[in-house]
Amino acid sequence: MADLLKAEGAIIDPTDETGEGVRRRDFINIAAVSFAGVGGIAVLVPLISQMSASADVLAESSTEIDISAIASGQAIKTVFRKQPVFVRNLTQKEIAEADAVNPSTLRDPQTLEERTKKGKTNWLITMGVCTHLGCVPLGAGQGEVKGEFGGYFCPCHGSVYDTAARIRKGPAPKNLEVPPYEFTSDTVVKIG
């Protein structure tokens, strides 16, 4: 029988142990296990993907804020994606302090210009989320400690941010994140 099949070219001699050629049984074995393996891995996609942010969480993504009541030197906390946002009206002195720093000396080099909108340098809008481990830094609320660089101070692990909310000292690696936003009018900001 084997000789007959071999003669017809259907299979290579199953008793051939030289390792040359492909045995039909090996081919079926590898093909079946590979197919089942790929299928098994494909099942992981929904199992892993279900953990990511769901549609309703992603949908809560824009906030409008009236900034007309924020006087120079004041700041408010608001919410974007269930996280705090600081909207701060910088004084001329604070702007000057931020501009006086040479950006190349910073851990995360950025100028105040780059972190604000053109012609609105006094409006510093950042996430109120420390880039170290996510605590809410102090400094936006009335009477809170602003830290030695006059910006924000994170009480958890002692990160200090300056008046442009740039990291100056402590374990945080980055400046406070600037969320995407635009001025829809002179007094209204849309975040997200």
Binding site: S52, A53, V57, V129, G134, C135, C156, G158
Partner: protein
Amino acid sequence: MSFPWANHYKPSHPLMVWLDEKLPLPRFVYNAIGAGYPCPRNLNYFWNFGVLAGFCLMLQIVTGVILAMHYAANSGLAFDSVEHIMRDVNWGWMLRYAHANGASAFFVVVYIHIFRGFFYSSYKAPREMIWLLGVVIFLLMMATAFMGYVLPWGQMSFWGAKVITGLFSAIPFVGEPLQQWLLGGFSPDNAALNRFFSLHFLLPFVIAAVIILHIWALHIPGSSNPTGVEVKSESDTVPFHPYYTAKDGFGLGVFLVLYCAVLFFFPNALGHPDNYIPANPMSTPAHIVPEWYFWPFYAILRAFTSDFLFIPAKLMGVLAMFSAILVWFFLPWLDTSPVRSGHYRPLFRKFFWLLFIDVVVLGFCGGSPAETKYVLISQIAATYYFLHFLVILPIVSSIEKPQPLPFSITEAVLGTDEAAA
């Protein structure tokens, strides 16, 4: 395995004979923790803590399953449902305090169990696998405890979850998406609370399964003992039951007295008052601390305040914190001394106590605010911690001249081997 002189299971009642043929479960128990398991005759009270840890796991599973009957894993309801347990559910206050303090008791017991392992070098061949499985159990315990602490959805729960998941954002490139994937959102919320509850319920059973492997691996070489000398003859052993069931029973009694004293008289001593404030994503508590059992590792996390080589400070802290436990996996190969017990290793013994003090110092710093002096002490203590495992232990193993070992366990106990005959 068992020694050749181990007692054999002989069912006498016809029902037990019948059962033994169909499903030899009583035989299994007899050989595992009964008269069929010969143990070294010289085990001291430090050998109680394995059984105590098993008891704590059972305590946590029983109280935890009950609490889950009254708890609501929803960010809008969780805090109130915990207060409902405390005030309205019959005996709810006791069950919740038993569970919260049970976690602390579990860690106390397991830390003693681990330090017993350090002192008597329980990790050495042929018991490496027992040790490796033990480290896996400890990692699972830490994950379980962390997720359990999030469930009451108080201020410390919320900010603990934020800070600990924030650790993952330190990983280059995939960090931020990974953190969002873990939380199911941009910051801890309903999705995170729900999955933590699900996993907090699951993991104790995974721990139970790994404990079975841990005990299985233990039964192959048999228990170690305070001399570190292997069992040589029958006179070196006594059957587990009744000798060690009785000794463990006494130890359990002492443990329960201490546990109940905390449970009934100081139930909040180990908790944090801020966790009785409902979670508020807009306001961080002034002083975030994890539960006491994470303090030494938290201190190592905070010890890195400036960039190290090319690695940012934040990532470095995270790597160091995980390495502090992962280094235990290499312990059987870092300590190359052929002598096991610290009793016969004068130099090793000194460094063992230094390590103990070092971990206590780290723990103290981890529980203190992030002020310069505590950070500085943490940095020194964290450096010493890694030096101990990676440098001191291998050097001590090679230069130390151990004291003479007794010929056998029997000789160590009775003076001469003949006395046993």
